[in-house]
C-alpha cells in the first residue's frame, strides 16, 4: 500500500462509492500498481475516459513506468469519473483525484492528459474543471502545468487555449526531460511563467500561446506566427524502441478492461502509406523492436501479470520483418503458459496459412481484417491495394485454422467514392462467403463494421471535404438494405458523432469556444452513444457564430494555411499533396520498407531512419 498522503481524499471519497455504478473504477491498489514516492516531482497522468478504457492505454502505462523509474519522481493515474460519480463528487465538493494515493490532481506538479480522439475533448475540459483549475491556460496562475500528449496533438488547435503545453510525438524521453526541468525549477524557485517558458524550449514541446493565428476575411488562416523568440515550428520526438523496453510491470485492471491482455509492441510507425491513415503518417518512420526482446518481454510480462492473452501490437503486425519466426517463438511461450496470442491489425495480403495456424485456434474470438473499400479502384485511390484474391486467401486461411468469425472493416465517405463503391461492399462480403463455401468449408460469420471516413490532419486527405451527413445516411441505408443474411452482422458508426469528430479534427483555435459551450451545456463522454447529443454542439456553434460546413465539407486549397502547419511531424506538405493528387488519379505508392524512398521527408527532417531489427540480435 502507498503511504497516506497528507491531502488524501479517500475518507471523503469512500462514502460515495456505494452510490455509483462500478466502484472499482475509483479504487486503485491493483496488482502492479506502483508505490509512489510522495516527496518527489509528481505527475498525474490522465486518460479522458473511464477506467476500463484508460487502463488499456499502452502509451500512458509506458509513461507512468518511465516516470516512476526516475529517482525522485512519481506518476499516478487519473481517469474520467463516469457521470454518476461526477455528480456525487460535485455535490460534496470532492475534486479530481489520483488513483494511487487519492490526492487532489491540483496538488501535482504536472497534469498530463492524453488526447486519444476528438470525442474526448469535452471530457478533457471536465478533467481540468474537476481538478479545480481554471479552464483556460491564461487564467491559471498556479497549480500543475497542464500538458497534452498522444495522437490528438497532430492538431491540438481547438484545445489550444486550455493547455499550457503539448508534447508532440513519442513521450518516453520528453516526459523525463520535463520532469527534470520541473525539479530544477522547483529547487531554484522559478515562477510558473519561467517554468513554462523553459519547458517550451524542450524538444517537441509546443506552447500554444507562443503562436499567434491571424485569419483572412473568408475565415481561412492568413498566418500562424511565433510571438517573441519561439521557433517557427515545433518538431515531434521519436525514440528507438529497443532502448525503451516498456511496459515492465503493467497494472492488472480490477475489472475487465477493453484490451484485457499483455501488449508488446512489435514496432512503431508504418510506411504502407494508406492515404486516409493518420497514424501511418504521424508515427513515421518504421522502427522495429528486435525479435529477441519481444520474446523476452512476452515471457516476463506473463510472469508478472497472470494474463492469459498476449497481443503483439503495431500498426500493421504482418509487416514485421520476420513475423513468422517471432509468432512461432511467442506461440511456444504461450503453449508453455497456457496463453493465447493475438495479432491485431493484420493485413489481408500478409496473412499466411502458417501465421493463421499459430493464432489462438478455434477458441475464442475471430480475426479482424480491414479491406476499407470494396472496389479495387477505390482501394487504389486510398493506397491500400489489396487484391480480392488476397482477401479470399486470408479468409480461407483463417477458416482452415479453425476461425468461425471474421470481422471486416470498411469505410464509407472516402474521397472519390461513388454509390457503386458502397453497394459493392455487400457484394464483396457475399463473394467472400461463397469462396469459403466452394471449398467445402463452413462459412464463418461475418461482422461487417462500416465507419464513416473523417479526413485527418497530416494525411494526404487533409485537403478533402468530408462526406455530408445526409449522404452518409443514404449510403448506410444502401448497406442496411443489401447486407442481409443470417451469417452477416452489420454495424455502423453514428454519423452525427462522425460530424462532430470531423468538425474538431481539422478545427482551428476558434473552436475552443464551441467545445467550452458544449461542455458547459452538459456534453460528456461524446463517444458513448447514450451520452452523445448533437444538439448541444449545434447550439454551441450557433452561439459562437461558426459555420460547421466551413470545417467539415469544404475542400481546402493547395496553398491554404492549415491550422496545424506549424506542427512538424516530419512530413513534407509537398509529399502529402502529391499523394492527394495521386489518389484522385488512382495511382498507388509503394512502401519504403523495401528501400524505395518516396521522399515523405520524415527521415531527413527528423534526422532518423527506418529501423528493421526483425532478427534475433
Amino acid at each position: 500500500m502507498n503511504k497516506i498522503a497528507p491531502d488524501d481524499l479517500w475518507g471523503r471519497l469512500e462514502p460515495l462509492l456505494l452510490r455509483v455504478e462500478r466502484p472499482s473504477r475509483y479504487l486503485g491498489g491493483e496488482w502492479n500498481a506502483p508505490r509512489v514516492d510522495l516527496a518527489g516531482t509528481s505527475v498525474a497522468l490522465a486518460y479522458p475516459d473511464v477506467y476500463e478504457l484508460g487502463t488499456s492505454n499502452l502509451g500512458l502505462a509506458i509513461l507512468q513506468e518511465v516516470v516512476n523509474d526516475i529517482d525522485g519522481a512519481c506518476a499516478e493515474r487519473v481517469y474520467s469519473p463516469w457521470v454518476d460519480m461526477e455528480a456525487e463528487m460535485r455535490s460534496v465538493g470532492v475534486p479530481l483525484f489520483s488513483l494511487e494515493t487519492h490526492r487532489p490532481v491540483a496538488s501535482f506538479d504536472i497534469f498530463g492528459i492524453s488526447i486519444p480522439h476528438e470525442l474526448t475533448y469535452t471530457n478533457i475540459l471536465n478533467l481540468i474543471d474537476l481538478a479545480g483549475l481554471p479552464l483556460r491556460a491564461a487564467d491559471r496562475t498556479d497549480g500543475p502545468l497542464v500538458v497534452g500528449g498522444g495522437c490528438g496533438t497532430a492538431n491540438p488547435e481547438p484545445l489550444a487555449e486550455f493547455f499550457d503545453l503539448f508534447a508532440l510525438g513519442e513521450g518516453e524521453e520528453a516526459i523525463g526531460s520535463l520532469v527534470e526541468l520541473v525539479r530544477r525549477g522547483k529547487e531554484e524557485g522559478w515562477s510558473r511563467d519561467r517554468m513554462l517558458a523553459e519547458a517550451s524550449g524542450l524538444p517537441g514541446f509546443y506552447r500554444p500561446s507562443d503562436y499567434e493565428v491571424v485569419y483572412n476575411d473568408d475565415d481561412t488562416i492568413r498566418e500562424i506566427s511565433p510571438v517573441a523568440d519561439a521557433h517557427a515550428s515545433v518538431r515531434k520526438n521519436v525514440v528507438d524502441l529497443d532502448r525503451w523496453l516498456y511496459p515492465k510491470r503493467p497494472i492488472v485492471a480490477l475489472c475487465e478492461a477493453v484490451h484485457d491482455r499483455i501488449n508488446v509492441e512489435l514496432f512503431r510507425g508504418c510506411t504502407r502509406g494508406c492515404r486516409f491513415c493518420q497514424a501511418g503518417m504521424i508515427y513515421r518512420p518504421v522502427r522495429e523492436r528486435s525479435a529477441g526482446e519481444i520474446a523476452l518481454m512476452v515471457d516476463r510480462l506473463a510472469e508478472s501479470t497472470g494474463h492469459d492473452e498476449v497481443s503483439l501490437c503495431s500498426l500493421s503486425s504482418t509487416d514485421y520483418t520476420r513475423i513468422d519466426e517471432v509468432a512461432e517463438r511467442v506461440a511456444e511461450i504461450c503453449r508453455e503458459r497456457g496463453m493465447i496470442m493475438s495479432l491485431p491489425s493484420l493485413r489481408m495480403d500478409g496473412m499466411s496459412a502458417g501465421l493463421a495456424a499459430r493464432l489462438d485456434k478455434g477458441g475464442r474470438g475471430g480475426l479482424t481484417f480491414a479491406p476499407e473499400a470494396a472496389t479495387e479502384r477505390l482501394r487504389h485511390a486510398i493506397n491500400k491495394p489489396i487484391t480480392e484474391q488476397e482477401m479470399a486467401d486470408a479468409i480461407l486461411n483463417a477458416v482452415r485454422a479453425g476461425r468461425r468469425r471474421v470481422k471486416l472493416y470498411f469505410m464509407i465517405g472516402l474521397p472519390t467514392e461513388t454509390d457503386e463503391d458502397v453497394a459493392e461492399i455487400s457484394k464483396l462480403v457475399f463473394r467472400l462467403r461463397d469462396v469459403v463455401k466452394k471449398e467445402g468449408l463452413p462459412p464463418p460469420s461475418f461482422n461487417v463494421s462500416v465507419s464513416t471516413f473523417v479526413p485527418k490532419p497530416h494525411t494526404p486527405f487533409q485537403w478533402s471535404g468530408q462526406e455530408r451527413m445526409e449522404d452518409v445516411g443514404r449510403k448506410q441505408d444502401v448497406l442496411k438494405s443489401t447486407l442481409r443474411a443470417r451469417s452477416v452482422n452489420l454495424s455502423w458508426h453514428d454519423r452525427e458523432m462522425s460530424a462532430v469528430e470531423g468538425l474538431l479534427s481539422r478545427g482551428d483555435r476558434r473552436l475552443g469556444g464551441v467545445i467550452e459551450r458544449a461542455w458547459s451545456d452538459g456534453a460528456r463522454f461524446d463517444s458513448w452513444s447514450e451520452q452523445f447529443d448533437l444538439e448541444r454542439w449545434q447550439r454551441a456553434l450557433q452561439a459562437e457564430r461558426l459555420d460547421p460546413d466551413f470545417y467539415l465539407y469544404r475542400e481546402r486549397g493547395e496553398h491554404e494555411v492549415l491550422p496545424w502547419d506549424h506542427l512538424d511531424f516530419g512530413l513534407d506538405k509537398r509529399f502529402l499533396f502529391q499523394e492527394y493528387e495521386r489518389a484522385a488519379s488512382g495511382e498507388i505508392s509503394n512502401d519504403c520498407r523495401d528501400g524505395s524512398c518516396l521522399d515523405c521527408g520524415v527521415c531527413p527532417n527528423i534526422d532518423t531512419e527506418v529501423i528493421l531489427k526483425g532478427n534475433w540480435g
Partner: protein, 258 residues
C-alpha cells in the same frame, strides 16, 4: 508435483476487506483467477485452448460488504500441499484479499458453488441511527411475523418476495463489544444464501429499519460483514472448510484424505 489417482480440488477461504470490498462478484472472481495464474498452481482448465479455469465460487457477496469467509474451489491437475498453496496464493494477491486457510479434497466432493445454502452476517449500525432498544423492538416485530413482504427491484424485473422463511437467526448482539463505536448497535443475521435462494442482508436491514423508524440515510451507513458461509445439515450449520473432516477416511470415495 506428483500425480495422484484422483483429481484434486483446492478449497481456499479468503478475506474480502479493505478496497476489495468494493469489487463486484465478477471482479472478485477475476482477481482470484489472475492470482491463481500468478501463483503457478497446477490449475485445471476446461477445453483445450485458453480455456476456462475450473473453479467454483461461494455465492455472490453484495458490493461493499466485507467478508472473512469467501470460498473458492480450484480444480488441480497435480498435488500441491495446502501450506505451499497458501504461501503461493498469498504472494499473488493484492489489497484486501488474503488467504485464511487452504484445504485439499477429492474432486468427487460437491464444489462450494453447489454446496453453500446459508450465510451469516454482522451488521454494525452506527451511533445515531436509532437506539439499541429501537432495533431490539424491530427485530422482535420481524420475528413475530409469519411472512414479511419485500419488493425486490432487479434490473429486469421487480417482484414481491417473502423474506421471513429465509431469515433463520436475527439478534441484536451484546452491547458495544470490541471495537464497536459507543452508541452503535450490532445485529447478527443468518440468511438463506446459495442453493436455497438468496436473501440479501440489506433487504432485511431495510425492513427492520422501517419497523424501527430509522431513516434510510442513517441505516445506509451501516457496515455489513459476512462472517460465515455454511451448509445446513439437519439443524447444524457446517462450514465447507470442515465438511466431512470427522468422517472415517474409508467412508469417502477415493478413500484418501489429505
Amino acid at each position: 508435483m506428483v500425480s495422484v489417482p484422483e483429481p484434486l480440488r483446492l478449497r481456499v477461504q479468503l478475506t474480502k476487506t479493505g478496497m476489495a470490498r468494493y469489487l463486484s462478484h465478477a471482479e472478485f472472481s477475476r482477481a482470484l483467477m489472475f492470482a491463481a495464474r500468478r501463483s503457478r498452481l497446477p490449475l485445471a482448465y476446461a477445453g483445450e485452448h485458453r480455456a476456462r479455469m475450473k473453479l467454483s465460487l461461494s455465492p455472490p457477496i453484495p458490493i461493499g460488504v466485507t467478508s472473512e469467509c469467501e470460498l473458492v474451489d480450484f480444480e488441480l491437475t497435480g498435488y500441491v500441499s495446502p501450506v505451499e498453496a497458501q504461501r503461493a496464493l498469498d504472494e499473488a494477491f493484492s489489497g484486501g484479499i488474503q488467504v485464511v486457510r487452504c484445504r485439499l479434497m477429492g474432486s468427487g466432493e460437491k464444489p462450494v458453488g453447489k454446496l453453500i445454502d446459508t450465510a451469516r452476517y454482522l451488521v454494525m449500525i452506527p451511533a445515531g441511527a436509532g437506539s439499541r432498544e429501537d432495533w431490539m423492538r424491530a427485530v422482535e416485530e420481524f420475528k413475530d411475523k409469519e411472512s414479511v413482504e419485500f419488493e425486490r427491484v432487479q434490473p429486469r424485473r421487480t417482484r414481491v418476495v417473502d423474506l421471513r422463511p429465509g431469515v433463520h437467526e436475527l439478534e441484536v448482539n451484546g452491547e458495544g463489544t470490541g471495537e464497536a463505536e459507543e452508541g452503535s448497535t450490532t445485529l447478527l443475521m443468518t440468511l438463506d444464501d446459495g442453493t436455497a435462494g438468496t436473501i440479501k442482508p440489506w433487504e432485511v436491514i431495510e425492513v427492520i429499519a422501517g419497523f424501527a423508524g430509522v431513516p434510510r440515510d442513517s441505516w445506509e451507513l451501516a457496515l455489513v460483514h459476512r462472517n460465515g458461509l455454511f451448509v445446513r445439515r439437519s439443524d447444524k450449520l457446517v462450514s465447507p472448510m470442515e465438511l466431512g473432516r470427522r468422517k472415517p477416511a474409508g467412508s469417502r470415495r477415493g478413500g484418501r484424505s489429505y
